[in-house]
Symmetry: D3
């Protein structure tokens, strides 16, 4: 009887031998619009699916903020699966600059109190939230998080992309060689304000 079952097992294998269970990123090959090419299944291990660094980052800096991310480039098992995660640590008065992502973000508070929100063309959606609370920042919308509690704050974050990009307003406007006159014309910020922030963010132009 065992013999025949094994026979059947081989038979089923022929059914499934071309199956496509996994596509773990081969990070040595160039990315594609749908994700990295798959590495050979013989080289895949459980460690391709485990990330061990979602620990507190150092917030000993003026912004009292640290972030650690588990995106496909450090967790190749996420390839093509449309999801990733990060941990955010806020010291006292810590905050994240306003920014957007090309993915929805979902933030779960695990310690402290934060005030978080996003902005649409018609309204500001903002709320002060605590451990056990979760807030959604829909894809593409400008959003912010500030530590509004008395102590530090910790949150876990998930994104609807395995490799989300982050557009931080300040670094985009003031951290490169975008000309001051174009910034002034297209933001209406004062030139003196632009120059002050360029000095802080290492911008030229």
């Amino acid at each position: 009887m065992i013999h025949t079952i094994l026979f059947f097992f081989v038979l089923l294998s022929s059914y499934t031998s071309y199956a496509d269970d996994l596509c773990v990123a081969d990070l040595l090959l160039p990315n594609t619009p749908s994700g990295y090419p798959c590495k050979s299944e013989t080289n895949v291990t459980v460690n391709d699916f485990v990330f061990s660094g979602l620990v507190p980052g150092s917030t000993i800096n003026p912004f009292n903020f640290a972030i650690t991310s588990a995106f496909v480039t450090s967790l190749p098992g996420l390839n093509g699966l449309g999801i990733s995660a990060a941990r955010a640590d806020f010291g006292i008065n810590g905050s994240v600059p306003v920014h957007t992502h090309d993915a929805t973000e979902l933030l779960i508070v695990v310690e402290g109190q934060i005030t978080a929100g996003f902005i649409t063309r018609t309204k500001v959606y903002s709320k002060t939230i605590k451990p056990g609370d979760l807030i959604v920042f829909p894809k593409g919308l400008l959003h912010f998080v500030v530590n509004s509690g008395v102590g530090k704050a910790v949150a876990f974050v998930a994104f609807s992309s395995s490799n989300p990009s982050t557009q931080i307003l300040d670094t985009l406007l003031f951290g490169n060689n975008l000309s001051t006159s174009i910034i002034a014309e297209t933001t209406l910020l004062d030139v003196s304000q632009i120059l002050k922030l360029k000095a802080q963010f290492n911008g030229t132009g």
Copy 2:
């Protein structure tokens, strides 16, 4: 000058007046394959994007396991965004039965120690993980989680769907009126085993 800027502001509004920033679920209307119809933006508030119940569930039951989920039906701001979350609490020796989802799951341990894994046709991918560790269960694959530490365990979970389904093996096989002979023929389980589990899961047939 203020006058002219406001004029411009109105002008830009005409540019954006049809914009499509949000599609919050109107849960009173029937769902569609892409998600619920959108409720009118005038009825949308920040509370459509905040879920306040990711607190510890009660694990005072024989399985020492509790789960709380934030899916689109309780968090309508997730509609159409392809992401959701949950919290899992494991008491001592707690575990989750083997199951699949139609979405990728990403599990972050925040307390205790668990042994978690998934199974493909060629291999078992399993690892014992701790706080700060994250494991990926790729879409559609059978997976399991057991509390392998000495105390309780807590995890946060994200899914790549705003309304993931869950296929728990035991409830599908033993918790309904699927005939015992079909189960026996298509699982090779002994009839006595099937009847024993049907008794436990309230199955008939």
Copy 3:
């Protein structure tokens, strides 16, 4: 012979009677994440697929800029098709404030000269372009357009969405009730600058 062909024609109709050629938006019903419900094909006319307003807008305002858009809400035949268009007119020194879309934008210059670009975390991509030139602003990236010629400028624009949203930095930050302290903390702008722009964009808070 005609008889038999007509017979065949009816026969083929049964083949195609459930076909799904079109899904023109019924704008009276609520939107869904994939687009509006389809109106009955008996109510569809060619005018659902034609937009007649891509004419020059008035640029007689301090920004010398006008925009006219053909999105699904004014061109219901675009429903579910993932594309739309607009016309931009720039007077002398006209410009568009920096903004993002949840869609790729493709801009074709038809008159005058503009300087246009977008910004990634590592670089500014910017170029001065003329009639016959086309520039791509990839989905989600902050971008700008200024009239850098001596006369007026005209461009046609296409978007990879039938209802793209537009996130204009200034209106998001200064045109609502977002609190000045949160703006200051998350942009590092000076409070005086924020208040000045709030006055211009009608912001409160």
Copy 4:
């Protein structure tokens, strides 16, 4: 013990109570770009997933051809699932006019012999195939099938859409009121040929 398992079963139900296993078409509501709204799960039966009409159609007509289709409109369980099926029967010398679909077609011969193919801008891909053979017509490409055997032929067909449209060249060009001069100008067909086919396909204009 049964008691506690049932307790657990209830507990798991809360985990899955919002799950989204099925979205069977409610054909009485308007379609959307992603498919029909879902009918209430309480009204869903196995018959929503079973189609019983893939039987031979009558080929007693000059084309010796019959088709029977199982698309979402007659098999509501296909809603949103991106697949459907049909059966084709060819009498002696039967054929299908050249046409395209907005979906890939996969044709399995079960009886007789056919010659089938599709056409790209560079090449004709055509082959004579028999029972046990399958041919792929990639999405959007013009294709044809002729019965090239001595007897009748039967095939089963699957489409990568739950409601594929069919663009039959002859009915599009000659079966409506498209003006003869536009047809002549844009196909280079002779007017006499156009008028002859319009007579056969009931066209006017």
Copy 5:
């Protein structure tokens, strides 16, 4: 006149010379999340789109069951097209073990009688069907097929994926080194039952 038409033909070729009609799998290159890289069109032949092996498999084994599949790995023209096919042969009392796919399956009976169904968290959907009947197994749901007729049975199957994976319960649970204690804890099966099936499916652990 011919000359000028040819001139036009060349002209149109420049219009279409970059067109993207086909993307036939180059199976020698690594797969990606969207499918295999395309082989050069000059190497594509009609045989990339034809599969000639959907013939009866041998059912001379204890399960009286055979399956033959035409997935992208044996039919490279399916690449990126989201569809594939298979043939299933059931001897007397033959059956397929319960399993899931990451794709919808559509099964057409061509000979004999089968009883087939799928299971959701709330209900079993099952029906006895015959030639001319078709049943849908929605994506991700556990399903089964048993030969319930007096003779053999034959079916053709289509999947909404060009390379569907198959999760067979028995091989996942009992055909590898998944530890007996984890299986027992997460399925509630008796250890003796687990060991019996591991013996049959060659499992260890």
Copy 6:
């Protein structure tokens, strides 16, 4: 203070260092179903996003028609973004042969007058349009454009694909080796008509 901001800037960079802003086509590598592999960001310049050839083509040919396209193969920044563009020039009496695309087309008239339309199984949708007018040709539908004005006509075109294919009826039917008997059988065209057009389009068979 600058020091600390720079420190923060580096910190944020670690947040964004894996970000995925762009995927510009590496045209030297094989295409995939989702687009070309991405070239290294260090090799990307603004010229990957700018196309400078949307100038009038020569219409000095019997069809008085010219087309210039900006698809991903000449504008690699379009890769994976689902949009592209073209310019069409029509001389007096110029026209485009009937054809289909695997993408929606959106045509904006900028000079002259055209009559354009598309055809569904139930109706012809056609209209005479002028500068400032835009017409939509939904994905997959047969469509046509004729210059119906007294002078020349110019249009800009956008497609909902970065590499749309074009199926021109005449070249598919008469510009290759498709056998005359198959064409006759599956189009009902007269053999004399087929041979006449094969002569014009260089067809054999």
